[in-house]
């Protein structure tokens, strides 16, 4: 997978995403999360991953918003004039604020998950000292689902060739009956495959504790290194400002 983000060292968009998430939570509400959400979606659309990131964000934000409004309507605050099953204005605004923050975080991280190739990211992190086992863990986790899906399809194909009916029209009893024939080879296969993968890694001189190099080191131009420093500084400034605000509120309360 390649995207416009591949022009950057993966650490730069990663730093930006982390900073945006923290800014969305620590910055002035609701402007900071709204700004972060807009910015993340803008970057996503500019990188040709806008639809995926928007879908991912909505998948989390809409149910969260609906659930929070439902909770507000179902459990009105004791002693308030709010009638049950009618959401209050404050409740809706709170739900919107929480959903907005969540949406900003999902969108910012979604840009990284969707737009940055995991192997590029782990190579960049390895160059910064990420141990081999951690890099492998990241990649294996990302590959686990497609691997299992591929193997499951292989098992389904093999059993269909033996007369097993799967899919629509098979009914609950039919599905339960064929479950062992489908789950058995899948589970055994996944276990066997992990053992074989360990052997394959061993045969290729993989040492989880040793440092690795890379065929194509990821370029890290000085401008990007400075950009990341600025991002971290800005982030530190936002956090310091929030801590100062918190300290002020404690002083006033005292």
């Amino acid at each position: 997978m390649t995207s416009a983000l591949d022009r950057w060292n993966p650490l730069t968009p990663l730093a930006a995403a982390v900073a945006m998430v923290l800014a969305a939570f620590a910055g002035p509400q609701p402007y900071a999360p709204a700004l972060v959400l807009a910015l993340a979606l803008l970057v996503a659309f500019a990188s040709d991953i806008g639809l995926e990131v928007t879908a991912l964000t909505m998948l989390v934000v809409l149910p969260t918003f609906a659930l929070l409004v439902l909770l507000d309507a179902a459990f009105p605050e004791a002693g308030s004039a709010q009638r049950q099953w009618i959401p209050s204005r404050a409740g809706v605004l709170d739900a919107l604020a929480i959903s907005l923050r969540l949406g900003a975080a999902i969108a910012a991280l979604g840009v990284i998950v969707t737009g940055v190739a995991p192997r590029r990211l782990t190579r960049a992190l390895a160059a910064r000292g990420l141990p081999a086992w951690a890099a492998y863990l990241v990649i294996a986790s990302l590959e686990a689902v497609p691997d299992a899906r591929r193997r499951a399809q292989d098992v389904i194909d093999a059993q269909r060739c033996r007369g097993v009916a799967v899919g629509k029209g098979t009914g609950v009893r039919g599905r339960l009956r064929v479950l062992p024939a489908l789950a058995g080879p899948l589970i055994v296969g996944l276990v066997t495959e992990s053992e074989e993968r360990a052997l394959a890694l061993d045969a290729r001189a993989f040492d989880p504790r040793a440092a690795r190099t890379t065929l194509a080191p990821i370029a890290d131009p000085e401008a990007e290194q400075w950009a990341r420093r600025v991002i971290w500084l800005a982030l530190a400034a936002v956090i310091a400002w929030r801590l100062w605000q918190f300290a002020q509120s404690l002083t006033i309360a005292t």
Binding site: R119, G163, R197, L199, L201, A203, R204, A210, L215
Partner: protein, 482 residues
């Protein structure tokens, strides 16, 4: 203790898995510039010896070793290993073939220019340069095996251990592979190769070691040891006689049983079968041969209904089955995949063989009878109470064939059934095909032209997704006739 200049110095009294001795009293040295071959029947201990020689036993594979295994030339790792099944040696650390080949040198913490040089050199030596930017998971078995060899070569280890490396290769790719191995030997590499293809082994190895039941049966010059008549071990077999004549078949009734007419099929935008037509008569057993990626397996999957035909017709007898779902087609057609682990799930071998007929609605008593008959044909009747997972991979493959036979399809397709099989296993598979011949017809997808000559009436060569030749089996392109 001092060692002569060997890449491998192995003195083993016993190697055991969970207390079960798999190999005993073996001495083996491999010097630089030498190819040593290992032969033996299924379960003889060949893979155990190969893993031990590569230094992988006791680490990734739990085993107890009583003896000494030394790699006097050192190296990290001291040996590179190529497995029989190429898909199991992908590390997944690389996204492209080039990156996958680079994994070894990256683990050796080499600098990028050295890694680049190693990768390019390994890909060139295995004729895999054109695959450099492909995604490994999308390659055919043969292409993947070349990538596996390239990945091993990129380690630049003093010893190269190959465990049945040509099982998935077409004859041309196997010949290229053999040339690459010879070139390595000539360049000073030490090579240990486990191979079931005795002709290939005899043409490659400088000397061979024959194992039987976990011990050394014989050692010496390949043609002398493997060419004995009668063979040293009937389970292993011997070299094919050059004057071997194809068997004469009794005339069979040529009623068309399977007809494929103008079928096109593929995956996504990629068209694999192009307007392919063929017919197979009642009582025929044919071999479908062709290069890796030619479309043989896709043809079988299309007949079975796993791949949808974009155009054309498929008939079994007078019945058009193109619109039938796969599980309905299973009443008429059977397909046994290369990897039997996709389907084995039962607690016993007998239950596994009974599953197909029971699923198709056969009564329990009839299903048991059909399963027992099929197991006897493939030589597994004495093991019907064992767990399928406890069988060797070659026996699991025979169990998968028995399971398909037990369902009694009219037309049966076997995908690379002889990969890794010894002479005994090949004889059982041939018997299975003869049983199928008496009931209908069969097709064998194979790169094993020797088996095709022995077991099949004629071959159908598939090239670029269509039938390019139909005729008698010829060994002209086989590795035994370089």
């Amino acid at each position: 203790m001092s060692f002569p200049l060997f890449a491998l110095w192995l003195r083993v009294r016993a190697i055991a898995y969970d207390g079960r001795v798999a190999l005993r009293d073996v001495s083996l040295d491999v010097a630089p510039g030498e190819i040593v071959g290992i032969a033996g029947h299924v379960g003889a201990g060949k893979s155990t010896l190969a893993l031990a020689a590569a230094g992988l036993l006791g680490r990734s594979v739990p085993a107890t070793i009583d003896g000494t295994i030394v790699h006097p030339l050192g190296g990290r790792p001291p040996a590179a290993f190529v497995f029989a099944n190429p898909s199991t040696q992908l590390t997944e650390l690389g996204e492209t073939v080039e990156e996958e080949v680079a994994v070894g040198p990256e683990n050796q913490a080499l600098d990028p220019p050295t890694i680049r040089r190693r990768v390019d050199d390994a890909l060139a030596r295995t004729s895999a340069m054109a695959l450099a930017q492909r995604i490994p998971r999308e390659l055919s078995g043969g292409e993947l095996q070349r990538v596996a060899l390239a990945s091993a070569l990129a380690l630049d280890a003093p010893l190269l251990v190959l465990d049945e490396p040509t099982a998935q290769l077409d004859p041309e790719a196997a010949a290229q592979f053999a040339s690459a191995v010879r070139a390595l030997r000539d360049g000073g590499a030490a090579v240990l190769i486990v191979e079931q293809n005795l002709e290939l082994l005899a043409s490659l190895a400088d000397r061979v070691l024959v194992l039987a039941d976990g011990a050394v049966l014989a050692a010496g010059a390949p043609r002398e040891v493997l060419g004995r008549d009668p063979p040293l071990d009937p389970r292993l077999g011997g070299l094919r006689a050059r004057e071997h004549a194809p068997p004469v078949r009794a005339s069979v009734e040529r009623v068309p049983l399977l007809a494929v007419e103008g079928v096109s099929a593929g995956y996504g935008d990629r068209e694999v079968l192009r307007d392919l037509s063929l017919a197979i008569g009642m009582g025929e057993v044919v071999a479908w041969i062709g290069r890796n990626g030619a479309g043989k397996t896709t043809l079988a999957r299309t007949i079975m209904g796993l791949v949808e035909a974009r155009s054309g017709r498929v008939r079994v007898g007078q019945t058009e089955i193109a619109a039938w779902p796969v599980h309905e087609r299973a009443r008429l057609v059977g397909l046994v995949f290369q990897d039997p682990r996709r389907q084995l799930f039962s607690r016993t071998v007998l239950e596994e063989a009974t599953f197909g007929p029971r699923t198709l609605g056969v009564s329990r008593s009839s299903a048991l009878a059909q399963a027992r008959e099929a197991l006897a044909v493939v030589g597994l009747d004495a093991r019907e109470r064992e767990h399928p997972g406890d069988l060797a991979p070659q026996l699991q493959r025979r169990l998968a064939i028995a399971s398909a036979l037990a369902s009694r399809p009219q037309f049966l397709m076997l995908d690379e059934p002889t990969a890794g099989q010894d002479a005994e296993g090949r004889a059982y598979i041939r018997a299975a095909l003869e049983l199928q011949r008496s009931r209908g017809a069969a097709a064998v997808i194979t790169h094993d032209l020797g088996f095709a000559q022995d077991a099949c009436d004629h071959n159908v060569t598939i090239t670029g997704g269509h039938v390019s030749h139909i005729g008698r089996i010829s060994l002209e392109t086989d590795l035994s006739r370089p």
